[in-house]
Structures are given as C-alpha cells and as structure tokens.
C-alpha cells in the first residue's frame, strides 16, 4: 500500500535530493522491504515512462520541422545496402502449382454452381436457396426492396468504410516563419507545438485502426477544433467528420461536412463535397 510518507521518500530519492547518509539508509530499507521495493520500482517506472512520452512528442515535433524543411530522406535510396533476397524460384513453382490446380478444379466442377459460390457474402444472405441464377428475377427483387433487415445492415456497414481512404497524414505548416520569431510569445509557440503534435498523433492513431480508434480520437479532434490556430481548427474539423463516420454517427458527420463544404478556401472544401455526394449516393442516414 502506497502511503504518502513512502511516496515522498521515494521521490526525494529519485530526484537526488537526499544526502548521502539518508540515501544509504533508504537503499538499505529498499533491500529489506520487498513491498517498498515494489512501490519504488513502480514510481520509478511511471516517472521514466511519462518522461519518455514527453520526449517522444519532442522528437515528433523535430520530425515535423525537418520534414517541412525537406531534410529527411524517407526512401530506401541511401540504405546500408541491405538487400532482401526473395526466394523467387520457389515462389514461381508454388504459383504454377496453384494455377494448375485452379485450372483443373474450374473445369472439373459444374460452372453454374461456381457462379453461385462466387457471389459475395451479401448475396448469400439475401438468396440462400438460389438454385439457378435468374438475373431478371434478381433485378426485380432488388427494386422491390424485398431484402431483409440483416442484409440491409450489412450493406450499410460495408459501405460506410469509404471514409478510410480520406484519412491521410497532412503536412501542417507552422504559422511562425523561421528566422522571424522575434516578438512571438513563447506561449504561442508552445501552444502551436502542443496542438500540432496532438493533431498528428491522433490522426496517426486514427489511420492505424480507423474503426477501432474512432471513438477515442473523436473527442480529441473536437477539442482541437477550438485551437487558436486556423489551420489546426480546419484539419481537426475534417478529421472530426471522418471520426464521426468511423463511429457510425453519420448525421453528425454530415453536419460538419456541410459546414466545411460551404466554407470558402477551406483546405477540405472539395473533399467534403465529394464525400457528401458519396454518402448521399449510398443513402446512409
């Protein structure tokens, strides 16, 4: 159990503020008391971990700065000649075997059966007992909207993922010109660094697992929409709309997209228009 006294002692030690004798006594105490040793290790680990997170943000800012200056080489051109040797010989033999097997299988099976099997899972849901494909009948079924509830949901869920292609890492240019930093308050620079790195971090997280991380990043984008910097606000608005789509909140997404589409010179004005048309086309409400 972490008591306030132990906590204070641990941090006095970790910050190097203990004199030599007290330090030696404390180390002895740690050796003798496993519970205290555990608390010590946890506190040390938390402190180092939070510091590492802070340094990571610093390196992300440096990365952004160097990327803006075009200093970073993001290709393999200057690699240390690490060549990946692919076993092409074996790959080609395996591919040939698969091809020949596929060819044999295709001709030895009934073609009408294959055409049914090759329909996507949605078709399987809607027509589980199809004996022979009847295109005319199928067309009529679709126009009469005889599709059941489950398949309808399936369509919406599979179509909603269209937003993912819009999740790209943007280049955010700093509002402060290099070499003309005189007169700019340090708090403005700090605020810019905090907002831009938070934005990039959340976009990165969103890009990694769009549907999974959408609820988590949504609130961050919403908060960044209040940033004092216009380009951060505009980026955050766009990603808030995308995160809403990821979170299946189409109505909210559409509201934001409409706002973006009607804002002159918004960097995502035309993308918002396109996305709105796509949503409309899919009839996702």
């Amino acid at each position: 159990m972490l008591s306030q006294e132990i906590f204070e002692q641990i941090h006095l030690y970790l910050s190097g503020q203990m004199d030599e004798n007290t330090r030696a006594d404390f180390e002895k105490l740690l050796q003798e008391n496993p519970e205290m040793q555990e608390e010590f290790l946890i506190q040390k680990r938390i402190k180092e971990g939070l510091k590492a997170q802070h340094y990571k943000v610093q390196f992300q800012n440096i990365h952004q700065q160097l990327a803006n200056e075009g200093v970073l080489n993001r290709s393999t051109k200057d690699s240390s000649k690490a060549i990946v040797k692919m076993p092409w010989k074996y790959i080609s033999i395996a591919a040939s075997v698969v091809f020949l097997f596929g060819f044999w299988w295709f001709w030895s099976n009934d073609k009408s059966e294959i055409s049914v099997k090759n329909q996507d899972s949605f078709a399987k849901h809607t027509k589980p007992s199809v004996k022979k494909p009847d295109l005319a009948q199928e067309k009529q079924d679709t126009s009469n909207k005889t599709v059941g509830k489950v398949p309808q949901k399936h369509v919406l869920e599979s179509r909603i993922v269209a937003y993912e292609k819009y999740v790209k890492t943007p280049t955010i240019s700093s509002p402060f010109q290099q070499g003309k930093m005189m007169g700019i308050s340090p708090s403005s620079i700090a605020a810019w660094e905090a907002d831009s790195s938070a934005l990039l971090q959340n976009i990165k997280r969103f890009k990694q697992y769009p549907a999974l991380n959408a609820p988590e990043v949504l609130s961050s984008f919403k908060a960044l929409g209040e940033s004092r910097f216009e380009n951060i606000r505009q980026q955050a608005e766009w990603y808030e709309a995308l995160a809403n789509l990821g979170n299946k909140q189409t109505k909210e997404a559409k509201e934001i997209l409409n706002k973006i589409a009607s804002t002159q010179n918004h960097p995502y004005q035309s993308s918002a228009e396109t996305l709105l048309k796509e949503i409309q086309k899919m009839k996702v409400e």
Partner: protein, 211 residues
C-alpha cells in the same frame, strides 16, 4: 538550426553526449536526423511501412534519452552514440516484428511482474548499476509497449487537472512550491493533490480484485 554545432557534434562525440545530457534542442535535432538516416532505410528495405518505422524510431529515441539522463547509458569513447543507438533500433524493430506475428496478450500486472524480475536481477548482479552489456540487450521486454500504450492509456483516463499535476511533477520535476503557483492552489493542497493523483495512476496497475 546551427550547422556549426552539427559539425562539432559529428567530430566530437563526447561534446555531443554532454549536450544531449543537457537536453540541448540542437543536439536532439542532430540525433534525430542522424538516426533517421541510418535506421529508416534499414526498416524500409525489410518491408516496414515508413510510419511504423518512424514511430519505433521516435519511441526508441525517447527511451534512450531517459536512459542517458539516468546514466543507465554512459558514453564510451570506443562506441559512437549514433552507432550504438542503431543497434538498439534494429533490436527493437526485430522485437516489434516478432511481437506482431505472435500477438501477445499481457495483463498490466503480468507485465509489471516481468519488469520487476528483470530489474531485481539487474540490481543483484550489478548492485544498482546496469552494465553496458545489459543496455545493449535493449530495453526490457515490452517496455515500449508498456510506456506508449498501457501507461499512456492509464494516464489519459485521469481527469485533466490530475494529468496537469502529474506532468508538472513527474515530467517537469517542479517543486511543490512552483506547482502550487502554477495551479494557483496552496502548497498544502498541492501536496495532497499530487499524492492523490499519483495514487490514482498507480492504482491502474493493480488487478481489479487487489486493493
């Protein structure tokens, strides 16, 4: 950015080490630029995505700076800092690839126990100082994941005022007096609040049935 400084860092590794210890922004930039040049092409030729490779780089550098500032890494004349780091990077990159293929599921407590055992062994073997070979093995297993996934998640569940308090305390290492000034509260309240917030965070690393 000072090119003169960069030239000196390139020539004089001991000076570069000193500047890193002092958290000189130029030294950080030089370190990033150099290691990016060395490490990223390696990961890309092995088929990594650029963003994943850069993410690993930034996380490894962050932990490296913590270790450097804690003197767990100490400079040695026969090993250039950036070359030394390159080995750490390759090690961590390989671990990431292995982990991806195994998809381990570790609980916070399991992970902490593992860390504790490793630390205790280090403590016994070297009496508090970690030898260069130990550092060379890389960071403790899952250390990166613990810091940048689990700890980050736990920290984000805290209320905003607690996050601020703990950042000022753990990261900025401000005295209670300065924390109290920043948060516009009394020193006594700051003492109490600091302990409570630290305890909330610490509690997230205990299993639910243990108090």
């Amino acid at each position: 950015m000072s090119n003169t400084n960069f030239q000196r860092y390139e020539r004089d590794d001991a000076f570069f080490y000193k500047e890193l210890l002092e958290e000189n922004p130029n030294a950080f930039t030089f370190l990033y630029q150099q290691t990016h040049q060395q490490c990223i092409p390696f990961a890309l030729t092995k088929g990594s995505e650029i963003e994943e490779a850069e993410d690993i780089l930034q996380e490894c550098l962050a932990i490296f700076i913590v270790k450097l500032r804690n003197r767990e890494y100490t400079w040695q004349a026969n090993a250039k800092i950036t070359s030394y780091f390159y080995r750490i990077y390759i090690n961590q990159w390989k671990k990431q690839i292995d982990q991806k293929s195994k998809l381990p599921t570790l609980s916070l407590q399991q992970d902490f126990n593992q860390y504790k055992d490793e630390k205790e062994n280090n403590f016994k073997e070297t009496e508090g100082e970690i030898s260069i070979d130990k550092v060379d093995v890389g960071y403790e297993n899952h250390e990166r994941e613990w810091i940048f996934v689990q700890l980050e998640k736990a920290f984000r569940t805290l209320k905003e005022d607690c996050q601020k308090m703990l950042s000022l305390f753990y990261v900025e290492e401000l005295s209670l007096k300065l924390i109290a000034e920043q948060l516009k509260i009394t020193e006594a309240s700051a003492t109490l609040k600091r302990f409570r917030c630290a305890k909330y965070l610490r509690e997230s690393f205990k299993p639910k049935n243990q108090n």
